[in-house]
């Protein structure tokens, strides 16, 4: 990238705009985090009472919140492998098949990404009710997998397209059985993409709300519980949770960015 040598007025304006944009993105988050250290409840940054860390241990006492958090993990435990598996299968099929039918298949498999989450949730509960399966964690797993699987599909497809197909042929030619070939050649090649998509699938499952709230029936996940609490009387306990969320995210982003820079 070319370094900008002279700063003209356009650049100055652009920089101001970027500054404002970044502030817009961060200000609410910072305010929310600050309120977690204020003893005032409901959370506030403007009526400051007392600096406190008391809201953090209170998190552990929120049995319901913890229960919902466990549900989030339970769901992810199924959604992540299912999505990666479906995404992987679709990516392999789409890369290897040719013709118009492939385009149609591709359009179908990518459509859940472009469908509003609530529609997926609704379709799922309507479908499963026919088989006597009620809305619960299970339907949420199904609904989430429907669209989350598209993401691994895209990631793995991108990698597959960069694959040297001669490698697979070479392996076959050397006497590898198709299964051995997949385990020893294709899978190792796809592994980075598979890990990335697993991480992404986890994030998507963990933070999903719009699909989940329509498909989960009477159960809860962390996000539905946060929404429920945010809607009614809320205490800074949620803010404390927010501090943890943001901190974890920042740490991960930094580690990720630094590692990428390091690799360069």
């Amino acid at each position: 990238m070319k370094a900008v040598e002279t700063m003209d007025r356009g650049d100055a304006l652009l920089n101001i705009f970027i500054g404002m944009f970044v502030m817009f993105m961060f200000l609410p988050l910072i305010l929310m985090m600050l309120a977690a250290f204020n003893s005032a409840s409901p959370p506030s940054v403007t009526s400051w009472e007392e600096l406190t860390l008391a809201w953090f241990p209170r998190l552990l006492a929120e049995d319901r919140l913890i229960g919902c958090l466990q549900n989030s993990f339970r769901i992810a435990v199924f959604v992540v492998p299912a999505s990666v598996l479906l995404g992987l299968s679709a990516a392999i099929l789409l890369t290897r098949l040719e013709g118009q039918a492939t385009n149609l298949l591709y359009a179908c498999l990518i459509s859940p990404m472009l469908t509003p989450g609530i529609v997926l949730g609704i379709a799922t509960i309507v479908f499963w009710r026919h088989f006597g399966v009620g809305a619960d964690l299970y339907t949420t797993i199904m609904a989430q997998t429907t669209f989350i699987a598209s993401f691994p599909m895209l990631i793995i497809m991108a990698r597959l397209q960069r694959q040297d197909r001669a490698q697979e042929e070479a392996a076959l030619d050397l006497g590898a059985s198709p299964f051995f070939l997949f385990r020893r050649v294709t899978f190792p090649f796809l592994l980075p993409a598979i890990l990335t998509s697993a991480a992404l699938a986890f994030l998507l499952s963990f933070e999903n709300y719009n699909t989940t709230v329509f498909s989960i029936g009477g159960s809860c996940t962390l996000t539905t519980e946060i929404a429920a609490q945010a809607r009614r009387a809320h205490t800074p306990v949620i803010n404390a949770l927010g501090v943890i969320f943001v901190t974890v995210t920042v740490i991960f982003s930094l580690v990720y960015t630094l590692r990428k820079q390091w690799e360069k």
């Binding site: 997949f182 946060i226 809607r231």
Partner: protein, 375 residues
């Protein structure tokens, strides 16, 4: 297919195909089909059958109370704190033999009426089962109020998309083409952090701004336009603008990253070359950068529109019930409040259709193919 078999062998190929087939049928196509099927069934709540069921209910209740009296004698409050009289005629009066006979007679009469109604109920049920079950009444019967809600939701989503596009283009441009390597990394991280923070948390964060004692009102008080004491502060949650702002905030990054990703693949030398050839800034954007970025812009618009129009979390949390409902909330109510899954499915499918139309519209405007969208 042959190639697949050769490389992956039939067990793996069958397995992969089965996975995709399951995904396609059980998760994608059939559920949508079931939803549409449900939306085409109109539930008539004013027909004769419903009335009979209701009448039966009343008769059974009447009979039940009388039978209770026959067994237990007249109910009378003997213990407990208080007995608020509900039906008004319970008393502790003695229960004579004559009353008993009268009651038994009444119970028998009730039973007769119940029997005849049960027969009619059965007949009507059989007739109903034979009728053609489908109609489009769930779609045509959308009330003016709901149509207005839908229009408003779509309009809001469009505005959100436009604002996001206007705001994100310069940001993506600055990060992708206008910054040195270090600044790019910093900016990218700065954008990535809010993007990766839980969506609900980002929405929740705005409560600190809009609350009665939140940032906005405090600023107003400091500026002397309002005061907490006399309760002259503004209840921000009442204004549709709050939903708009938070929608933009929540989904704007789904616009930034697609645009950034495509823009970053542009060779900066192209821009330099255009500049060398004497092109003005706007012309460089119009002729070089925007054409290159088109797929990214299309994806950004589609994602932002779809997320904004389909957002349940933002209106749910931000309006706190003080504003007219969003279309998604309406759908939620149909499912979880007023027990009309059929109508809810119809509305849900309507929302889906609008999104599909928008996608095709954007693809036509930008001349982008579906394959190009996924990156």
């Amino acid at each position: 297919m042959k190639q697949l078999f050769e490389i992956y062998g039939w067990p793996l190929t069958t397995f992969f195909s089965a996975c995709v087939a399951l995904w396609l049928t059980i998760l994608i196509v059939t559920p949508q089909f079931f939803m549409i099927e449900l939306s085409l069934r109109f539930e008539d709540r004013g027909d004769r059958l419903t009335k009979i069921v209701n009448d039966l209910d009343v008769l059974y209740r009447d009979k039940g109370t009388k039978e209770y009296d026959l067994v237990n004698g007249p109910a009378c409050n003997t213990t407990g704190m208080v007995n608020p009289m509900m039906t008004g005629d319970s008393s502790c009066a003695q229960f004579g033999e004559e009353d008993k006979l009268r009651l038994e007679q009444q119970v028998r009469e009730l039973e007769d009426r119940i029997q005849s109604l049960l027969v009619e109920e059965q007949n009507l049920k059989e007739i109903k089962a034979q009728q053609f079950p489908y109609s489009v009444r769930n779609y045509t019967a959308m009330t003016g109020l709901h149509a207005w809600t839908l229009t408003k939701t779509v309009a809001f989503a469009l505005i959100v998309t436009l604002i996001a596009l206007a705001a994100c283009y310069p940001v993506a441009y600055a990060v992708a083409l206008r910054s040195g390597p270090v600044k790019t990394v910093i900016l990218f991280t700065a954008l990535f952090v809010p993007y990766a923070v839980n969506e609900l948390m980002r929405i929740y964060a705005w409560l600190t701004v809009f609350d009665l004692h939140g940032l906005l009102n405090t600023l107003l008080v400091i500026a002397g336009f309002a005061s907490f004491a006399s309760d002259e502060v503004i209840i921000w949650y009442r204004f549709p603008g709050t939903v708009l702002v938070v929608l933009v905030y929540t989904y704007i990054l789904f616009m930034v990253f697609p645009i950034y990703n495509t823009m970053a693949t542009l060779d900066p030398n192209q821009v330099e070359a255009a500049r060398d050839l004497g092109a003005k800034t706007w012309r460089i954007h119009w002729r070089v950068i925007i054409p290159h970025t088109k797929p990214g812009i299309a994806v950004g618009c589609i994602m932002t529109f779809m997320l904004a129009a389909g957002s349940f979390s933002v209106p749910y949390i931000i309006t706190r019930g003080l504003q007219p409902k969003w279309f998604t909330q309406l759908i939620y109510d149909k499912f979880y409040e007023s027990s009309n899954w059929n109508l809810g499915s119809a509305y849900s499918f309507t929302l889906l259709l609008i999104c599909i139309l928008f996608i095709f519209g954007v693809m036509a405007i930008f001349g982008v193919k579906l394959r190009q969208l996924a990156r």
